[in-house]
């Protein structure tokens, strides 16, 4: 007997029909007059940048958005039932049984105080008349279906004992527990590492075919949607601006925004600039950073977690060194160590001089860093002028007001902002503009080395391209050397002259970018490239 009876694929059967859906928070419309349908057994992709209303649209399907008001003309029909006509009890019956959800961050969707198995059992017992033992047996089977190793043991784990990928597998087990007709997946792989992402997507697709369920797949990642969806809706500012079959939308986009989105998503070009032949600017030898994990009674550390485990790295003048690796591989720690922002053992030399021998002031001026999240890297209580002037006041205190102003204006020009921004506060700017300001703050000191720690991963795709091109231009005009840290292989291929791959605190491969992407030596590098560049 098959675990779950197979359903026949009825392609043209509309399962979910959303008509004229408008959702507002207070006076602020978030979703405007959205129309789409999901057919039985298909994968519908919903793409758009952050804030475009994707998630609200999806959550509205089950009236899960708190504090929202729905326009009177909105209608949502699921399986011939109008969602707006159902009372709370009837909605609850549908939630988790006919329609289930997978969210981005599995840790916050699982109750940290309950064993994961128990949480699956709970769902089974609510919606299906199962006895405790039946439910437990079934839950273990479900876990096995999601490809978790040792499902019986994992059944009794707490969420924090599982890895991100395993947690997402548990979420999937919970989502398919009641054999839903529609699965809504809201960025289910965004929080995961690339190699794990691939496995989760494969699993989702496998289960989707096996169970014959429809999937509404929400993502900002166009490549992913292109790979898995049959049809796609493109959202912008709460409206669906284009929808249709994947081939049509991606290869013959009609809307100018879609065109920009599609073209920007393809960093198919590698960095073909000539490899600069400068000497070494910055080098780190035998860098180690470790944190105590376990201590004995007297406070003596028994076990360390080695974040950097004897790492050697070298940056040549005028080049862009791409540093890649999954989360936890030590990328950010490396950046912080090179910028002397955390403690480490080992030796870092700037222009051949040990940085501990340099004066703090001289070192800071020559090496600057740009952080990942422009929303947290600018002090919200300072105006842009104060932010940009701060470094000058420390390192160029002999400059008078006019000289400082000239320097600031020049820097603003090179990040393509005009001087009207100076009296504003960071919250008045978009993410891309903020990142420009953060770059300007570093450039104002005219450094030699710029460490870029995931400078574009908090940004939308269209903005990403602009910032990357800006960084390339700045590098050329100012003869800078970059350490470019990213988890996104496509971005690194676009930017870097050389690539260093980090794994478990060590550099496993460090070579010219073109050669590396064509023919990686290391097994881990191969896996990374395969998972992210298809």
């Amino acid at each position: 007997m098959p675990l779950i009876p197979e359903r026949s694929l009825a392609v043209d059967n509309v399962l979910l029909q959303v008509k004229n859906l408008s959702v507002a928070f207070g006076n602020k419309p978030v979703v405007k007059n959205v129309n789409f349908c999901v057919r039985q057994g298909e994968v519908l992709g919903l793409v758009g940048e952050s804030g475009s209303g994707k998630s609200v649209t999806a959550l509205s399907v089950l009236k899960l958005v708190q504090g929202a008001t729905y326009d009177a003309a909105s209608s949502i029909v699921f399986d011939k039932q109008s969602i707006f006509d159902l009372n709370d009890d009837e909605l609850c019956a549908i939630r988790g049984r006919d329609i289930s959800f997978i969210f981005q961050e599995p840790m916050s969707s699982l109750n940290p105080l309950h064993r994961v198995g128990k949480q699956i059992v709970e769902i089974l017992r609510i919606h299906q008349n199962m006895s405790e033992t039946q439910a437990i047996r079934y839950a273990v089977k479900l876990l096995a279906m999601t490809g978790i190793r040792h499902p019986k043991e994992k059944f009794y784990s707490f969420p924090h004992e599982l890895s991100g990928g395993q947690r997402q597998r548990v979420m999937i087990a919970m989502a398919i527990a009641n054999h839903p007709k529609l699965l809504i997946a809201d960025e289910p792989t965004t929080a995961l590492d690339v190699t794990v992402q691939q496995q989760i997507i494969d699993l989702l697709l496998k289960l989707q075919k096996k169970l014959g369920m429809a999937v509404l797949f929400i993502s900002h990642d166009l490549n992913l949607i292109k790979k898995i969806a049959q049809r796609v809706c493109v959202m912008k500012n709460g409206e669906i601006i284009e929808q249709g079959d994947v081939e049509k939308v991606f290869y013959h986009p009609q809307n100018p925004y879609t065109k920009a989105l599609v073209s920007s998503s393809v960093f198919d070009k590698g960095n073909d600039d000539v490899l600069p032949k400068g000497g070494t600017v910055l080098c780190g030898k035998n860098l180690c950073v470790r944190y105590p994990v376990k201590k004995n009674f007297w406070g003596k550390t028994l076990k360390f977690n080695h974040v950097l485990d004897g790492m050697d790295i070298e940056l040549h003048k005028g080049e862009c060194l791409g540093v890649v690796g999954e989360s936890g591989s030590g990328k950010t720690t490396l950046a912080m160590s090179l910028a002397l922002l955390n403690k480490f053992s080992g030796k870092v030399c700037l222009n051949g001089v040990d940085i501990h021998a340099l004066k703090n002031k001289d070192f800071r001026r020559k090496l600057q860093i740009v952080f990942q999240d422009p929303y947290t890297s600018l002090n919200p209580r300072m105006t842009i002028k104060q932010i940009l002037e701060e470094g000058l006041n420390i390192h160029f205190s002999q400059m008078d007001k006019n000289e400082k102003r000239v320097r600031i204006d020049a820097v603003l020009k090179s990040v393509e902002l005009d001087s009207s921004v100076l009296d504003k506060y960071p919250h008045e700017f978009s993410g891309g503009q903020r990142q420009r300001i953060a770059i300007a703050r570093s450039l104002v000191l005219e450094p030699e080395v710029l460490i870029l720690d995931e400078p574009t991963s908090a940004l939308d795709v269209t903005t990403q391209v602009q910032i990357l091109n800006l960084l390339k231009n700045i590098q050329k005009t100012r003869d800078l050397s970059y350490i470019f840290i990213s988890h996104d292989m496509r971005v690194v291929r676009y930017m870097a002259n050389r690539v260093a791959v980090l794994h478990n605190g060590k550099v496993v491969e460090c070579r010219r970018a073109d050669a590396f992407f064509q023919n990686p030596y290391d097994d881990y590098s191969k896996e990374l490239i395969k998972a992210s560049l298809i």
């Binding site: 910028a339 800071r364 947290t376 002090n379 300072m382 701060e390 703050r441």
Partner: protein, 340 residues
């Protein structure tokens, strides 16, 4: 719109808190000018064609044709007649100061409310209304000073602990735990048995026990904020520790701190009143609210004392709590604009 404007608007939209703030400000302003409202010296005298300002300038008894070189007693019938014969005098609304004993009373003290003493007199024949007016000023000024001083110390210590963390934090935290475990009341009893503290010494003694109040809040805010990217960015720019602490982190931590201030004020008022009530606080010369509470307890046959001081204290503290709630809500970033 600037963030402070938005907070002020949020605060104003909270009707209860805003009205409380207005009433509180009026009461505080009035009490600051107690000398102009309740004084046993006239505000203005016209005497033999001259204008005199006795509440500000000291005139001798001899000046008014008396016998002594000491300051004139304007309650004295002789002086009053002398002035009435040679001009006129304008007295304050309440013609008694906090320490003026009314010798003209025709009943044993404490006397009930009358036209001369609107809220009656206490057991030494002093006007209760005047004592309350001066008492509010004393309590509020004391509470303000105590709050400001302990906030300054608390912010500095909390900032150091939170910013540097590690061993600094560990040792200071242990020290604070020991310090906070000292029994405040016993130490005050010992101090009070050696000498009766005056305003400044009592302030300093209370400061010894209240300076640690804000530290946990400030420390937690600094611990949280020091890991933000903009702090790292400032370090990478080469900004010094002191500047990072007070220019980058403190403005972001101040919100949590300000939220506590009205409640600290209320606490300080209660603490001072309680000490005075127990006789461990300021000496009898001060017009303290706690002294009136004690009198209310000692003179249950004169309920106007107890009732008056009860109403005054509960109103004052309620106003402060309402204001505190308003401030807390106005500073809450999750609070939407314009909801009361």
């Amino acid at each position: 719109m600037h963030i402070w404007q938005r907070r002020w608007r949020n605060f104003r939209n909270n009707r209860r808190a805003f009205v409380s703030l207005i009433i509180f400000s009026v009461v505080f302003l009035l009490s600051l000018f107690s000398e102009l409202l309740a004084n046993d010296k006239p505000l203005l005298i016209k005497y033999k064609g001259e204008f005199l300002f006795p509440f500000a300038v000291t005139y001798t008894d001899r000046f008014f044709n008396g016998d002594f070189d000491t300051e004139a007693d304007y309650q004295d019938m002789f002086i009053q007649n002398e002035i009435a014969d040679n001009g006129w005098a304008i007295f304050t609304l309440i013609p008694y100061s906090y320490n003026t004993v009314d010798y003209a009373l025709d009943k044993p003290t404490p006397t009930p409310p009358s036209w001369a003493h609107w809220l009656g007199t206490d057991d030494e024949g002093r006007d209760i209304l005047a004592r309350i007016l001066y008492g509010i000023r004393l309590s509020l000024v004391f509470a303000f000073l105590l709050t400001v001083l302990s906030s300054i110390i608390g912010i500095i210590v909390g900032a150091v602990q939170g910013y540097f963390g590690g061993k600094t934090d560990l040792f200071m935290q242990r020290f604070l735990e020991i310090w906070d475990a000292l029994p405040q009341l016993f130490i005050l009893i010992i101090v009070a048995s050696v000498f009766v503290p005056d305003f400044i010494t009592l302030l300093l003694i209370m400061l010894l026990f209240s300076w640690s109040g804000l530290i946990p809040v400030v420390r937690a805010e600094f611990l949280r904020t020091r890991n933000f990217d903009f702090v790292k960015a400032a370090k990478a720019l080469g900004v010094g520790n002191l500047k990072i602490m007070f220019k980058h982190i403190l403005p972001n931590a101040i919100v949590a701190t300000i939220t506590y201030v009205p409640f600290l004020l209320a606490d300080a008022i209660v603490a001072l009143t309680a000490l005075d009530f127990l006789g461990l606080g300021l000496s009898q010369d001060y017009p303290s609210l706690g002294d009136l509470v004690r009198q209310g307890k000692d003179n249950l046959q004169a309920p106007w004392i107890g009732i008056t001081i009860f109403v005054v204290l509960s109103c004052l503290l309620t106003l402060l709590i309402f204001i505190g709630e308003g401030v807390r809500d106005a500073f809450n970033p999750r609070k939407e604009l314009g909801r009361g």
